[in-house]
Amino acid sequence: MTRYTLSRLLQGLVAMWVIVTIVFFLARLGGDAAALLAPADATPEQIAAIRVSYGFDQPLYLQYVDYLRGIATLDFGQSVSYRQPVVDLVMPAMVNTARLALAAFAIALVLGVTFGAIAGVRAGTRYDQAVRGLSVLGQSVPPFWLGMLLVLLFSINLGWLPAFGSEGFTSLILPACALAAFPLASIARLTRSSVLEIVARDQTLFERSKGVGPATLMSHILRNASLPVVTLAGIQLGAMFSGTIVVENLFAWPGVGQLAIQGIQARDFALIQGIVVVNTFVFVALLFVVDLSYGWLDPRVRAIKTAVKSRVEATVEAAA
């Protein structure tokens, strides 16, 4: 298990390195940052002074080495547009995005698994049809449109919830619901199909025939059906961290999405890089956790790994 964990960790680090490298070079293909920072009537000398001041005059490889060294020490440099350390901008924004993403994820996971599981065990009933219909709707409705409808209904007409903002629990509800719709529908659909498959297995029939109680039976079904759902949920959570731009914009939520838009518009290299690095780290960390959870959820995964390891060792011994 330790070897497996280390191998996944190494893969994650390589993925991170590839992504941050691509981002570094892509960001610099976009134009002369010094010229962009200078006022419209700036002279070439003034632009040159700005270039030196921000280190854009250094050879690209030196900028790259500095950049990698900075990442290792959590120093993403200075934002050229905001004149602040990138880490001071990205981290508070990431905390806000995490609040929103985790709230939306909680809604999606709890409701998605519940609806999907019930639909799976009651396949063919009206309840199942309703869940399937709503799932299609949830996956089809764009979050910005859903968000606008929610604001229209709950903020403007009913006055129950704030239309935007990030203060307090109530301001979290509408953006979280708008963001949760798609993953909720996806999780519900996958849970349903996964549960259907487990319900049809001999193992479940055997348990039923032995008179296992509904609660125990359901827990066994859910645990067996959970592997694909966990995989999907992990990916969805990662996507939420990096895909909240539209919802953040609509609800004036001061998260990473909004910061990313501003960084892109200002061609703020350091800021864009900082955001991508942090997002990549979050995504890779989530996938790592998902991978590790397989072993906990399904003992067969551990057994397979052990078996493979034994077989490899045996082969090596035989060859020796």
Binding site: G31, Q46, R83, A93, A252
Partner: protein, 539 residues
């Protein structure tokens, strides 16, 4: 308030505190129907009396952006969207009044030597800074020294012209320039509290600045809001608000700002397009206010900057393209009356604007004749534009409308919309050909010298190389006397009207929605950006 109009609206109706699902669904359906209905009839203005001390001690303003969100009023000179802080936290030597006149602020008198290179500035006495210290010439010097750092990019041109700064006494300062510099005193950065600055250093100062403006910086939640508190010791009592706290809330999405004003989360919503404003018509509680002629939506023919042949270099072709556009229809229909036909590239707020000039008419027949005579019957080119700008509301629809009119006279134009960063970069580097759309804020072009950005061969966003225009602008920039400047600006005004290197298609108003907690607010003419938050009072 500048032409405040109370508008009818879907508005908030009496609503149940809690309801059942059926009620909610009904409300949603009604809202959708209401949202699809047309504008209602405007009703009378209902401005209220202004109490000396307001019941509502906090006003929240929803702004589309504060751009880089600098708390430091000197740094907040990067572009109009940072000006709310520049105007609120900072107090310059000379400021612009709401009608764009330059009036004394922390400077009381200023004069220039016979060679136009040395300025003697007398400073206001008895002024307090936000930390309680007394304002002196040292604070002006500190501020000028700060902007010598290249990080203050917007002061690069200013710094280049400064030769020396000499403190004569606590309330007098001499500034020598390398070239005649008419706007020197106006362009000088807002003074900062020297002792505080020296104590905390540059980095900390940027986070928590101390200056002399009508609002003190209180706190900032990045990408969310900036909170300012009233400065009771501000020298100009007329500009002190009757409430204590002003929150600038950043809400990029226009529909959210609209929702905010409807739900009462916002007291003022900035940057509304005419379509959004129409949705507020009929509201018993929400008024609309406009800053008239806040910006001009221009089409510049950038081919005039290059040496290569182009039909767009023919003044008759450019005239034809101007005559082909029904500008009144664009102002009335697309901008729903929040726009007007412009006479010239200069606005009434521009120094030296020639008021005798007549607006170009809408005459498609003459346009066709001019095009035919110029051999440009099959003219085609690309119109480049940015997909978002504070200066031009609904910029893509504007471009589509212009292209539509040109098509009617046989000119085929391809639209090329880009994100602002890419577009402005290409425009500055002269990588675009054909025509470009650019907004010119009234605030910017109230100073005619700033038109050089668009009309001289060295201008950042210039579309033309013309020796005569270059000469005119050179004379303008080396002239420091206001009357002389106005004369040259008048010449430029007429020249731009004749040559039409850029078509000033329509001027646009900046639209604000004002909620019921606001008692009064006077807006600055010609200003597309949020603020200034002077002469603002709560109920």
């Amino acid at each position: 308030m500048s032409n405040p109009r109370r508008i009818a609206a879907t508005g908030r109706s009496s609503r149940p505190r809690y309801g059942k699902i059926t009620a909610a669904v009904s409300a949603l359906a009604l809202s959708l129907v209401a949202a699809c209905s047309g504008p209602a009839v405007p009703s009378a203005d209902g401005s209220a009396e202004v109490p000396a001390s307001a019941t509502n001690q906090t006003l929240t303003v929803g702004v589309a952006t504060l751009q880089q969100q600098y708390a430091d009023p000197v740094l907040a000179n990067e572009g109009g969207n940072t000006y709310p802080i520049k105007w609120s936290v900072g107090e310059p030597l000379i400021r612009q009044e709401l009608d764009m006149r330059q009036v004394p602020a922390l400077a009381t008198e200023w004069s220039v030597s016979a060679d136009d290179l040395t300025w003697d500035v007398k400073l206001r006495q008895g002024v307090k800074m936000h930390d309680g210290s007394t304002f002196t010439a040292k604070d002006v010097q500190t501020s000028i020294n700060r902007v010598k750092d290249p990080a203050f990019t917007s002061y690069a041109a200013y710094v280049k012209k400064i030769a020396s700064v000499e403190i004569v006494n606590d309330y007098e300062i001499k500034i020598k320039t390398t070239v005649p510099y008419a706007n020197l005193v106006f362009d000088t950065p807002a003074p900062v509290a020297t002792d505080y600055y020296n104590r905390v250093g540059e980095t900390e100062f940027r986070k928590k600045p101390v200056a002399a403006g009508p609002w003190k910086f209180d706190s900032q939640a990045f990408n969310d809001s900036m909170t300012l508190t009233r400065f009771d010791d501000f020298w100009d009592k007329d500009r002190i608000a009757n409430f204590s706290k002003l929150v600038l809330k950043i809400i990029p999405d226009e529909s959210s700002r609209l929702s905010g004003i409807q739900t009462g989360q916002l007291d003022i919503a900035q940057g509304l397009t005419p379509n959004s404003a129409a949705q507020l018509q009929g509201s018993p509680t929400i008024r609309l206010a406009t800053s008239k002629q806040a910006s001009v939506a221009n089409v510049f023919f950038v081919d005039n900057w290059f040496d290569a042949d182009s039909k767009l270099k023919d003044v008759n072709v450019r005239k034809a393209l101007m005559l082909a556009i029904d500008r009144k229809a664009i102002a009335d229909s697309l901008y729903r009356g929040f726009g007007s036909v412009t006479v010239n590239a200069t606005l009434p707020v521009t120094l030296g604007n020639d008021t005798s000039l007549q607006a170009w008419p809408y005459d498609p027949n003459q346009a066709k004749q001019l095009l035919a005579a110029a051999g440009a019957g099959n003219l085609s080119f690309t119109l480049h534009l940015y997909n978002q700008t504070t200066a031009i509301a609904d910029v893509q629809k504007f471009a589509e409308a212009v292209i539509g009119y040109w098509k009617e006279v046989g000119v085929n134009v391809t639209m090329d919309a880009m994100d602002p960063a890419t577009y402005l970069d290409k425009a500055v580097k002269h990588q675009l050909t054909g025509a470009v759309i650019l907004g010119t804020p009234g605030l910017l072009i109230s100073d005619p010298e700033k038109l050089s950005i668009f009309y001289t061969s060295t201008g950042g966003y210039s579309s033309v190389k013309n020796a005569e225009l270059d000469g005119m602008f050179a004379r303008l920039s080396s002239t420091v006397k206001r009357d002389d400047q106005a004369k040259i600006a008048g010449e430029i005004s007429r020249k731009l009207h004749e040559t039409l290197y850029g078509l000033p298609v329509v001027s646009l108003d900046a639209v604000y929605a004002i909620g019921p907690k606001v008692a009064a607010w006077k807006l600055m003419e010609g200003n597309p950006y949020p603020g200034p938050f002077w002469y603002l009072d709560a109920k």
